[in-house]
């Protein structure tokens, strides 16, 4: 899951990035509003976490611009302003959720999960396809009710594919959502992860669509 974090405070941004990364998110951190806005215009994210009082474009401006161009990426506001009017203004500008500083890292993570789930159109917190069940909150994956051990990356990759099912996800989309810009991605790292997943979940669960990408399907052939 790829998250855009827009926060100008260096210590808070650093901690949020570290915390969310630890929870398996891929985090892109922008230090000011302008950079955040252009990142949103040029890339795709599964969720946005943003501060309201930002240098450059303000959080509310970014939200309004986003919703104005029909970008439905779930957005969560982090702010120090706790008045009802501020909250209403934030939600009316297009935010999906609201957290007041100082917040709890677990709560932020949970709210992001819920936002992403809702954006994907699911109401159950568990993603279930064929005999594979994935729990985004606990990072547990079971096959025929038996726990499967996955690495952090494998889990994230599986989650992306299962969330998107039955759509096909391109290689570049997957790479973008799995690795932040700073990390160095080897050319066949994705293939290695797919290979490992197939080993653990059975060969037919993940399909390769030649020249396009990968997908998972309800009906295994």
């Amino acid at each position: 899951m790829r998250i855009l974090l827009i926060e100008d405070d260096p210590l808070l941004g650093d901690a949020t990035e570290a915390g969310l990364s630890h929870d398996g998110y891929t985090v892109e951190w922008m230090h000011n509003g302008d950079h955040g806005d252009s990142a949103l215009r040029n890339e795709s994210f599964d969720g946005v976490v943003l501060d309201l009082g930002l240098p450059g474009k303000s959080g509310l401006d970014i939200l309004q611009a986003m919703r104005g161009r029909n970008d439905t990426t779930p957005a969560l506001i982090l702010t120090a302003r706790d008045s009802i009017e501020d909250r209403i203004k934030g939600l009316d500008s297009g935010a999906d959720d609201y957290l007041i500083k100082p917040f709890d890292l677990d709560e932020l993570s949970a709210r992001l999960r819920a936002l992403i789930r809702r954006a994907a159109g699911r109401s159950s917190p568990l993603i279930e396809i064929a005999t594979v069940v994935l729990d985004p909150a606990t990072h547990l994956v079971t096959l025929n009710n038996e726990t499967v051990n996955l690495s952090q990356r494998e889990f994230s990759l599986l989650q992306l594919l299962m969330e998107a099912a039955p759509r096909v996800l391109s290689r570049s989309y997957l790479e973008e959502h799995l690795y932040s810009w700073e990390s160095d991605v080897g050319s066949n790292v994705l293939e290695v992860h797919i290979h490992n997943l197939r080993k653990k979940l059975g060969k037919t669960f993940i399909h390769t669509i030649r020249g396009v990408g990968y997908r998972v399907e309800e009906e295994s052939e």
């Binding site: 405070d9 210590l11 808070l12 901690a15 949020t16 630890h22 120090a80 100082p102």
Partner: protein, 442 residues
């Protein structure tokens, strides 16, 4: 009790009573005099009649046969005892009233007063035109006094009875007159502490409207102060939330990770706490800068000496960044001010100079006199402040965008506040080719 009603009442009653007493005194005097005149005229009239009658009788009959029929006659009026007469021919008593003695009542001609039978009398001793007959008439003073008393009492009683009635009416009148004050007091008393709108009493007497105006001015100032305090508290709590969030989140990261990541997060927790403490300290400094308190402790302060002291304190920090601290100026540049505050001002300015200047830079403090003013300049060859935001940097919590140096955004607000307290001016200028110069005139 210091009540307007009671004071007015006492004052009015006092004035009224004094005027009345003076008037009574005047009337009494006048009455006494008039009564004296009237009674004396009656005596004169009586003596004349007596002399006239006696003369007539003497020519009619032999003097030896002359005797009074009046002797021994029973009095017909109780006041008869209070009047008396004698008619003498030479030293022979021809005629006298029952109440008169056998000796002359008065020996001198004209009016006189004297004792007779234990009473005070008024006499008239009158000699007729022939110089032979003498009529002496007398009258007790008691008669006059009685009349006087009666007249005075008739004046006195109605007023004595009227006085309490008057007091009651005045009390009612004054209470009614003071009603606008009472309703004003009720209006003010019924307000809650947050209700600081203007008082809009309509039927206010002219005398009270300056009071209402002053109260309104005060209310306005109080409202402004409270508003500023609210804004400040809101700003302050807002500014504290972000560093607190950073500390909390870093702590949570440290808790759920291990090794290097955890250690780094813990270091950042400490850094966050330091930053927050600095912010709190700056906030406290700012709130403590109450001009009315500080200005009472003004003294002669040598700016050069203080600059040297602050520079010595900050020398270790400057050394870490290899920044050269220079002082230009002679001792004896004395201003009237608060030494601790000027020290805070200089520390903020020099610290800014050090923080926003690159490794190996320079910070120069200059103190000199220009005309009447003492001018303090702190300049550096650091990052500089863009011209368009040189005024905004004095705003509370304002931080220059993209500033990488941690700070509270309060340092220059404190500087401005201290300069204001010293009734000075502060301006930010650019240095060539880059850098900042803060110029303060006191």
């Amino acid at each position: 009790m210091n009540s307007i009603r009671n004071r007015l009442l006492l004052l009015l009653l006092g004035v009224f009573t004094s005027v009345w007493v003076v008037m009574m005194g005047y009337i009494w005097q006048n009455t006494e005099h008039e009564i004296e005149e009237v009674f004396d005229a009656q005596l004169a009239q009586a003596s004349l009649v007596l002399l006239d009658l006696t003369q007539h009788e003497i020519t009619e009959m032999d003097l030896d046969d002359f005797r009074s029929d009046l002797f021994g006659a029973e009095p017909v009026h109780e006041y008869e005892k209070k009047v008396a007469f004698q008619v003498w021919r030479g030293d022979k008593l021809l005629l006298r009233s029952n109440s008169a003695p056998a000796t002359p009542m008065s020996r001198v001609a004209g009016y006189s007063s004297g004792e007779m039978g234990g009473e005070r009398w008024r006499f008239l001793h009158r000699v007729d035109t022939t110089g032979v007959l003498i009529a002496i008439v007398g009258e007790q003073y008691e008669m006059r006094n009685e009349l006087e008393e009666k007249i005075i009492l008739q004046l006195f009683w109605p007023i004595t009875i009227a006085l309490p009635l008057l007091a009651l009416l005045m009390t009612l009148g004054i209470t009614r007159g003071l009603h606008p004050l009472k309703s004003l007091a009720a209006e003010v008393a019924s307000r809650s502490p947050t209700q600081l709108e203007e008082i809009t009493a309509k039927q206010v007497p002219q005398e009270v409207s300056p009071l209402i105006d002053s109260i309104n001015t005060l209310l306005k100032r109080v409202a402004q102060t409270i508003e500023a305090e609210h804004r400040f508290t809101a700003d302050a709590s807002h500014e504290l939330r972000t560093p607190l969030a950073a500390i909390k989140t870093q702590a949570q990261v440290a808790k759920r990770t291990e090794g290097e990541v955890s250690d780094s997060a813990l270091d950042k927790v400490v850094e966050g706490v330091d930053r927050t403490s600095h912010l709190v300290e700056q906030l406290l400094t700012l709130t403590r800068l109450d001009p009315s308190v500080v200005q009472r402790c003004f003294e002669e302060v040598d700016l050069t000496v203080i600059s040297e002291r602050v520079m010595a304190e900050l020398a270790p920090t400057a050394l870490v960044k290899n920044i050269e601290l220079t002082m230009v100026g002679q001792r004896g540049e004395v201003v009237n001010g608060s030494a601790p505050l000027l020290q805070i001002l200089l520390r903020n300015l020099i610290e800014n100079g050090i923080n926003y200047t690159h490794f190996g830079g320079k910070v120069i403090v200059t103190v000199n006199t220009e005309g009447e003013e003492i001018v303090l300049k702190v300049s550096d060859n650091g990052l500089g402040i863009p011209e368009d935001i040189r005024q905004r940097v004095f705003d509370r919590f304002y931080r220059i965008e993209g500033s990488s140096v941690p700070g509270s955004g309060l340092g220059l607000s404190i500087v401005k506040r201290v300069v204001d307290i010293h009734a000075g001016t502060v301006e930010i200028e650019g240095e060539q080719p880059h850098g900042t110069r803060v110029v303060i005139e006191i």
